[in-house]
């Protein structure tokens, strides 16, 4: 089985978020980048397929050279080879289109992407990619088994779970549940040493058209002051809700 895992290079969840250029660009100064957590669950599940079912695992990212440390970490965790499509990722369709060229060429049986990246939270790439390459698609996937040409996936739906059977090739939008947080792997020294020698191929982009453009970003407003009202003074509460908050 040939697996391709899509890896987004995203700010660590503890990063302080700021914008530059008149709130049009994310300020990367001092920010640590990590493998997108939804992708990391998928990568870890891919390692299971590699170890138990003899799958090969390639990883791919659309981004500039600054994303290579993230790919190298995924190689140190155990992926076999990496591909970087050398262009800035600006919109979901562009990323899906660029990924699709490699996905078609590589004849992958299974493509594992995260349900969404935790930076811009677009959540569009896996579905678009599946459509562009004519593969089946299961989103919000929390369990995945493959037997021969058939995959059995469980996806999260409102208030429950749905079990889906799909023919390969298959694209999934994965998340926690594919594996648990305690299953995530820290690269060991042997892995880091082996990652030095694994191929990291840089491909030039197809030049997919960029359909959307972020105009500006805005951070949530700081929390306002809290007014505490004594339970004995409900009139005051009603007064405040009516006259100040203007919600009743």
């Amino acid at each position: 089985m040939k697996i391709l895992v899509c890896i987004s290079h995203v700010p660590d969840t503890t990063s302080k978020i700021n914008f530059t250029d008149n709130d049009t660009k994310f300020d990367t100064n001092g920010v640590q980048f990590v493998i997108n957590p939804n992708d990391e669950f998928g990568l870890t599940r891919a390692m299971w397929f590699k170890e138990k079912q003899g799958a090969t695992v390639d990883i791919i990212n659309v981004g500039g050279p600054e994303t290579e440390p993230t790919l190298r970490k995924a190689l140190a965790i155990g992926a076999d080879s990496a591909i970087r499509i050398n262009t800035e990722a600006l919109d979901g369709y562009q990323v899906a289109k660029e990924l699709s060229a490699v996905a078609k060429e590589g004849n992958y049986d299974l493509i594992i992407a995260g349900r969404e990246s935790i930076d811009y939270n677009g959540g569009m790439v896996p579905g678009m990619l599946a459509n562009l390459i004519g593969a089946s698609f299961v989103n919000t996937c929390i369990s995945l088994e493959v037997d021969g040409e058939t995959a059995t996936a469980i996806r999260e739906i409102d208030g429950g779970k749905e079990t889906v059977s799909a023919k390969l090739p298959l694209v999934i939008g994965g998340q926690k549940g594919l594996v648990e947080e305690s299953d995530l792997r820290i690269p060991n020294m042997r892995g880091i040493m082996m990652a030095r020698k694994k191929p990291l191929e840089v491909k030039e982009p197809q030049g997919a058209e960029i359909e959307t453009k972020a105009v500006s970003f805005e951070k949530p407003a700081p929390k306002g002051e809290v007014k505490l009202v004594s339970p004995d003074n409900l009139d005051e509460l009603i007064n405040l809700l009516h006259n100040e908050a203007k919600v009743i």
Partner: protein, 392 residues
């Protein structure tokens, strides 16, 4: 113990001075400490037990002989990588870092540098994997800062050596499989000998009731007519310079490790100062607390630069022993002062095991003394700049 929320300070964007691989090695060590050390270390320290279950993890992240070549089981990394691993481990606990430092710099390093090919092949892969734990015997009950005065000695008995004497304050001693022991031959010349557990007359009693490095095992090495096979003598260097070269490597690791302890104390104090309210505002809004925190980050930043530069010099094989002394002395004192100041910011909470600060502070009291005391390192700098010996 509170969850480990550590965020590493990098005030001068020093990460830009590191390679991609340095950062990968550091992240792996940092993540491992968060996952496997932080949750268990406070209890281990309170109970004064070395957490043996972390030995495998230490080996996996490359903490045992990271700069030893791959053919002997090491990782073939550079000196800055070694420093970063020590920094991250000591961020968790100085005692755990001590175990890794001793294994790497005081056991694997001398076997690699001064050992025969057979000794390297026999010991290094097992030490790198954690299957063997090693210790280093130089200090004696009556010879600490003056190791050249040692009385431990061995006599040539034809087909073997006969070793007698005792060593004290030996990290890892109680469970070490092999000890690198420095002893005088009949002419008074110092040599290194590999003493293996199980050799008749060799015992390793544990040192009890320590208030420092409680999560690390310390003991004595006692040699009572121990027969040492001749192939266990390190053949390629003798004299006091040999153990001092090992100490250079270990002190370099300490200079980095101390930054880890300081960063953990600073990070804890900074978070606490922003969350703890008194007189209607966070205590971090008061000038006296800001002074403490601002001075801490300044000192950490200076120490990081010192360690990075020293690592670069060591990578080029240009660092002198005196330069290493300066970094060890400066950075450990820096960490100790930051531990004390951080403890004050936390007030009463600072003395509890809910936070790591007091444990770091007690650990650093050992670190400031071992591997050359704070005062001796000052005299090394003094002698280096004046050319005059003030030791005796």
């Amino acid at each position: 113990m509170k969850p480990d929320l550590f965020e590493a300070p990098d005030y001068y964007n020093l990460d830009d001075l590191l390679t991609e691989e340095h950062k990968l090695v550091r992240t792996a060590a940092r993540d491992w400490v968060k996952r496997d050390v932080s949750p268990i270390i406070e209890e281990a320290a309170q109970k004064a037990e070395f957490p043996k279950k972390i030995i495998k993890g230490l080996a996996e992240i490359g903490a045992f002989g990271p700069y030893i070549p791959e053919e002997y089981g090491g990782a073939g990394l550079d000196q800055i990588s070694y420093g970063l691993i020590m920094q991250e481990i000591e961020r968790g606990d100085s005692g755990v870092r001590s175990t890794a430092s001793v294994q790497s710099s005081l056991v694997m390093y001398p076997i690699y540098k001064f050992g025969s090919e057979a000794q390297r092949k026999k010991f290094l892969p097992k030490l790198a994997s954690g299957e063997f734990i090693g210790c280093f015997g130089l200090t004696e009950p009556d010879h600490g800062s003056n190791p050249g005065g040692m009385v431990t000695n061995f006599k040539n008995k034809g087909d073997h050596y006969l070793l007698n004497g005792a060593k004290m304050w030996i990290s890892n001693a109680p469970f070490a499989d092999v000890a690198v022991v420095w002893a005088k031959d009949e002419s008074g010349r110092i040599h290194g000998l590999l003493v293996e557990r199980g050799m008749e007359g060799f015992s390793t009693p544990t040192t009890h009731n320590k208030w420092s490095l409680r999560a690390s095992a310390t003991g004595e090495l006692i040699f009572d007519n121990v027969k040492i096979p001749k192939e266990n003598l390190l053949p390629n260097k003798s004299g006091l310079g040999a153990p001092l070269m090992c100490l250079d490597s270990a002190r370099f690791g300490i200079a980095w490790g101390a930054i880890g302890a300081a960063m953990d104390c600073y990070d804890t104090a900074l978070r606490y100062a922003k969350e703890r309210h008194q007189f209607g505002k966070p205590i971090g809004a008061f000038q006296l607390q800001q002074k403490k925190l601002a001075e801490m980050i300044t000192e950490i930043t200076k120490a990081q630069l010192l360690a990075w530069r020293l690592g670069s010099l060591r990578n080029e094989d240009k660092a002198t022993s005196s330069q290493i002394s300066m970094a060890k002395r400066n950075n450990v004192e820096m960490a100790l002062k930051i531990a004390r100041e951080s403890r004050q910011i936390l007030g009463g909470m600072g003395i509890t095991g809910e936070y790591s600060i007091m444990r770091h502070m007690m650990n650093l009291e050992s670190v400031v003394t071992y591997e050359g005391t704070h005062d001796i390192h000052l005299l090394i700098t003094g002698m280096d700049i004046t050319g005059l010996n003030a030791f005796k």
